[in-house]
Symmetry: C2
Subunit: 303 residues, 2 copies
C-alpha cells in the first residue's frame, strides 16, 4: 500500500493552488516553479496535522465537510461548539439558508433544541493581546484592516494601535451567526461561499475554516427566499451529524495535513503568488489580497 | 395584470443587496434605510435597460443565464462573440470546467468548430484613453489598481498615470480565456464564481458580467480533474445555445433593468454600504472593496 498526499478538492481561500491562469494553464504546468511544485517539494515539517480535538466533521448525505476550529483565537466559542456537538445539538438539523455569493447557514431555526448549560454566549470579535505575538504579517495593504496576515493558520487582521487581532471573512471561513446584541454561542453557524464579505470582520466571531469538502457547501441550491433562506417548496439540506474528530474512531477519521503558515514552503508559495513571473502573466500584480493567499491542505491517497 | 420589479436572484458582485448581516438581518429589515428601501424608492430614470444587441442568453437545461457584454470597453471581443453566437458556434457545446472558488469555463475543447472569418484575435486587457472620461471613481483604495470604480456599469480599475482603464475580476464577471500569447477571441469564456481573482486583471480581456442566473453557474458540480476540469466520469454540462437577446422574439426575452452607476440611488447604495450604521454593526468598516459594491439588477414579476 502506497500513500500519496494530494491537495484536497476544496482548499478554502485558495482560488487555484496549483493553477496559473485560464486556458493556457494546462500547458504551463511544465514551467519551473508552480505552487504544485513547491508543495510537492515541501518537507514533512512544513505540514501540520490539525488537532482532532479542534476538528469538526459536518456530515451531509453528500459527504463530509472538515472544519478546523480556531480554538486559540475564540476559546469560548470553540468550547461552546464542542459542547453542542457532544450533546448532539446539530445532529438532524439542516442547512436552512444558501445565499449566492455570500453564505451557507445552519442552525435550529425553531429554537426547540436545548442548549447545554455550559454553553455561554460571548463576544469574540477580536482576540486578546497575547495573540498579537503569534500574528504573521503579510507585506500587502488592506482596505478593511491596518494590517493583515495569519493567526494560527487562519487569515486575520491586526490593529497595531490597539494591539488587537481578529479573524477575517475569507472564502471558506466559518462564523457564528448572531442577533443583536453582539453575543453569540456557536449554535448558529455559517460558511462564506462568495467574495470575501470583509465588512463583517470585527462584527462576528469567526470560529474556523473549511479544510476539505468546501464544494459540498458551495454547490448547494441557493434558497429563493429573502437572503437565500429556503422556502417551503425547497427542502432544507439535512445535517446527519456534526462530530468532533477526536470522538470518531481513528479508522473513520479523515487524515488531513495543512501547510504551516510559518514554514519556508508557505513563504515560497506566497512569493510565487505575489509576483507572477510565469510567461502567461503579461501584467504582474506584485501584491496579493489576504483572501487570495492559498492555504493548502492535503489528504493522503491510498493506492 | 400588475408588474412589480424584483431583484434578480443573482446580482453579480452583490453579496447581499438587501441584507444586513447574519442571523439578525431578518429583524433588521424594519430599520429605516436599507439597500432594499433605496431600490424600492429609486425613480425609473435611475435604472437602465441593457441593449438587446449587447445581451447574451446562455441557455442551459436548468435555465437562462443573462450576460451583459461590455461592448464599449472591449469592442473587438464583443464583435467576435456576436459573430460566434450568430454562427451558432456555442450551441451544443458544454461547460467543461468548474473550479471551486475560481471559474466556470466553456469552450470547444476539441477545437473542431470553425470560427467565422470575421472573428479576430485581439488583446483588450485595457481600454482606450477615451474611456477614462467615462470612469466613475470609488473613494476607496485598492490593492490591485491605483484607482477603482466603474466603467459603463462594470467594475473597473484605472491608472491615472497612463490614462488606462480596465475591467476588474469581480464575482460574476465574464472573461475570454486565452493561451499564451496574449490574444483571445471570445470563443473560450469563463465566469468568476469565487473570491475576486484580481491578479488576472490586465491579463485577460473581460467581456461582460452575469446579470441574472448566476446561481445556475455557481452551483454546478465542481470538476475533479486538475484545475476543475470535468473528467470522463463527470458529464459536461450541455449548453443548449448562446443567443443574442436582439435575435430572440421579444416575447421570449428576459426583461431586465440595471441600476445606473451614475444615478443618485447608486450613490446612496454605495454610501449605505461604505458606512454601516445599522445597529447590528458594532464595527463600521468605513470603506468598501470594489467587488463588494452591489450592482443591482431587477426583473419584473407579473401578478
Amino acid at each position: 500500500m502506497k500513500m500519496r498526499w494530494t491537495r484536497t478538492a476544496a482548499v478554502a481561500l485558495a482560488a487555484c493552488v496549483a493553477t496559473l491562469g485560464l486556458g493556457a494553464a494546462r500547458h504551463l504546468d511544465a514551467k519551473p516553479v508552480t505552487v504544485a511544485d513547491l508543495l510537492a517539494g515541501a518537507p514533512a515539517a512544513d505540514w501540520r496535522v490539525p488537532k482532532p480535538d479542534d476538528t469538526l466533521y459536518l456530515e451531509l448525505t453528500s459527504g463530509r465537510v472538515v472544519i478546523e476550529l480556531a480554538a486559540r483565537a475564540v476559546p469560548q466559542h470553540a468550547a461552546n461548539i464542542k459542547s453542542l456537538v457532544r450533546a448532539h445539538y446539530f445532529d438532524g438539523l439542516a442547512i436552512i439558508r444558501v445565499q449566492d455569493n455570500y453564505v451557507v447557514q445552519w442552525d435550529d431555526e425553531s429554537h426547540h433544541r436545548p442548549v447545554p448549560a455550559d454553553v455561554h454566549p460571548s463576544v469574540e470579535f477580536t482576540v486578546d493581546a497575547h495573540a498579537a505575538a503569534r500574528f504573521e504579517p503579510l507585506p500587502d495593504h488592506d482596505l478593511y484592516a491596518p494590517q493583515v496576515g495569519f493567526l494560527d493558520g487562519f487569515p486575520a487582521g491586526r490593529d497595531p494601535r490597539t494591539h488587537t487581532v481578529w479573524l477575517a471573512h475569507c472564502y471558506g471561513m466559518v462564523g457564528a451567526g448572531r442577533d443583536d446584541p453582539a453575543e453569540s454561542t456557536g449554535a448558529e453557524l455559517y460558511a462564506v461561499i462568495g467574495n470575501a464579505p470583509r465588512q463583517l470582520d470585527r462584527n462576528v466571531a469567526l470560529v474556523g475554516r473549511v479544510l476539505k469538502g468546501m464544494e459540498l457547501l458551495s454547490t448547494l441550491p441557493r434558497g429563493s427566499g429573502e437572503m437565500g433562506f429556503y422556502v417551503a417548496s425547497e427542502p432544507p439540506v439535512p445535517i446527519t451529524a456534526i462530530k468532533l474528530a477526536a470522538d470518531v474512531p481513528e479508522a473513520e477519521r479523515t487524515p488531513i495535513e495543512v501547510l504551516r503558515t510559518d514554514s519556508p514552503t508557505f513563504r515560497s508559495v506566497l512569493a510565487q503568488r505575489r509576483e507572477r513571473h510565469e510567461a502567461w502573466f503579461k501584467h504582474n500584480p506584485g501584491a496579493i489580497d489576504l483572501c487570495n493567499v492559498p492555504l493548502p491542505a492535503r489528504t493522503p491517497e491510498v493506492h
